[in-house]
Symmetry: C2
Subunit: 300 residues, 2 copies
């Protein structure tokens, strides 16, 4: 019954931040007939023009209040640093009963700030994080299939309205994503480990490459493992600056734990302790193989 499937889920969606994520959500919903009208909001007119040109949004404004005021669903999709500073404006303009969600990579700080900024309407804030992306950023990189077969984590609190959670769950599921409900802090720990720390690790590796005396040879020979490992170091520096600062305690803790493991490896090498080195590498290989199996299975 295509008519019921194509019944708009959302009448008017406001997307604050029409980059890779915001632009992809907008175009995914539009392509599937799930939204009546999308108003895009960004600081930069060029970004808005590009988003209009690509048909990601139906109208545009640089004014957050104007974008939010008539929307029944509002998606915050800016870097997390900007998000927390926009929340008071958003809270002020949000119409009664409208649902606010976000797509930020860290959740604790945005939840805490939203609780104050939104006051009575906090129950309609459904914190979210689509775990999808690419090193490319901006509306030019947006694509309607970005979320297909990717997790979206929602981190509702005890106060969150169940109907609002359901609506946002539908939003993500209808554009191909799978929903995982997690506690706010568990999200920040798990994503710290699986995403934030790996980005830091990759940025640090590329930084070190820049220090080498044989830099040209290094660049020529970096095509293999180095290339794959550092792929995510092509990601948006501002976005990742904000994530690190936002998830400060957990990130620092994870870097410390990571350095402890590096120390252990370094000691094994210094002491020519082949057995412990091989043991650590073997255990890592086994777990990595398991990851490969999980990934393959999730595709089937």
């Amino acid at each position: 019954m295509p008519t019921s499937i194509n019944l708009p889920l959302i009448d008017r969606l406001a997307v604050i931040g029409v980059g890779l994520i915001g632009g992809s959500v907008a175009s995914a919903l539009k392509e599937r007939g799930l939204v009546g009208h999308v108003v895009g909001c960004a600081r930069n007119m060029q970004t808005l023009d590009m988003a209009m040109e690509r048909g990601l949004i139906d109208s545009s404004t640089t004014n957050v209040g104007e974008a939010v005021s008539r929307a029944d669903v509002v998606l915050l999709a800016t870097p997390v640093g900007t998000m927390t500073s926009l929340l008071p404006q958003v809270g002020e303009a949000l119409q009664t009963g409208a649902i606010l969600t976000d797509a930020g990579s860290t959740k604790r700080r945005v939840v805490d700030i939203a609780r104050n900024a939104l006051a009575d309407q906090f129950e309609h804030f459904v914190p979210g994080h689509p775990v999808a992306g690419s090193e490319s950023s901006g509306p030019a990189a947006a694509r309607p299939d970005l979320f297909v077969n990717h997790w979206t984590v929602l981190t509702p609190t005890a106060e969150t309205n169940p109907a609002s959670i359901q609506k946002i769950t539908q939003l993500w599921e209808r554009i191909g994503s799978h929903i995982k409900i997690m506690e706010v802090d568990a999200h920040d720990r798990v994503l710290g480990m699986t995403s934030h720390l790996p980005h830091i690790v990759a940025y640090a590796l590329v930084s070190q490459l820049a220090q080498q005396i044989d830099q040209d040879e290094c660049l020529a020979l970096a095509a293999g493992g180095f290339f794959d490992i550092t792929r995510v170091a092509g990601s948006d520096p501002v976005m990742w600056r904000d994530i690190c600062l936002d998830n400060k305690e957990i990130t620092v803790e994870l870097i410390n734990a990571y350095q402890t493991i590096l120390d252990r490896i370094k000691n094994s090498i210094t002491e020519s302790d082949g057995e412990s080195l091989e043991g650590l590498f073997k255990a890592a290989k086994l777990l990595r193989n398991r990851l490969e199996t999980i990934k393959t299975e999730s595709k089937n």
Copy 2:
């Protein structure tokens, strides 16, 4: 003139260690009619049987002396730890004027040990390192196109015979590889940075994943960046144990330098110094983009 192209470059090749690299060299040469006979040597009969079954080699033996004695070219393709312990046997059996080369990922220690082990015949040792591979290992993973469009680094010393260098250059070029001549220590520095350190970084990341209290959630959400970054942690633990121990000083130095960069990032986060964090990430992104360009150009 296909007849001249197909003229064997090598009459009898001995491959010591018929895993991914040894097996791939053998099959690449055989497929192109560049070798008369390949004798494979390994400790393990199962490995030899698999290599025979797959047609990678023409005959097999577990006896190093026997494999080496009638060969005009000998390729050492075991993990580097095994390599250095085999060199005395190889030196003893090597026929006068025969050329010895290796495919080890580190070069300083094998060169130093070979100088003693080979004595007069050291001039015919052409140290090499094909910078190609995969996380898979063993003869089952061998394939004749493994080296196509990949660098092979040769690190001849002042004593190395130019005709021997030329022959080994031809060997790699005829199976699709590009040759880069480097100093022994420069090789170990550059590969330490572009290959060994990234492997350690990846193994350490996966080790840390194993410590997490939310391990199942971590595994489920590790499909993105974490997955790519840690791909090389599926590599052979024994091979990488040997590489780390063999390239000890450089590896430890690189881990130290890497930790210094992690400290800098950690301090920026702790002090909420967004500017320096963004600066480091931006510089890394620029260099990573350059790497992308270099890789794309090398394919054209």
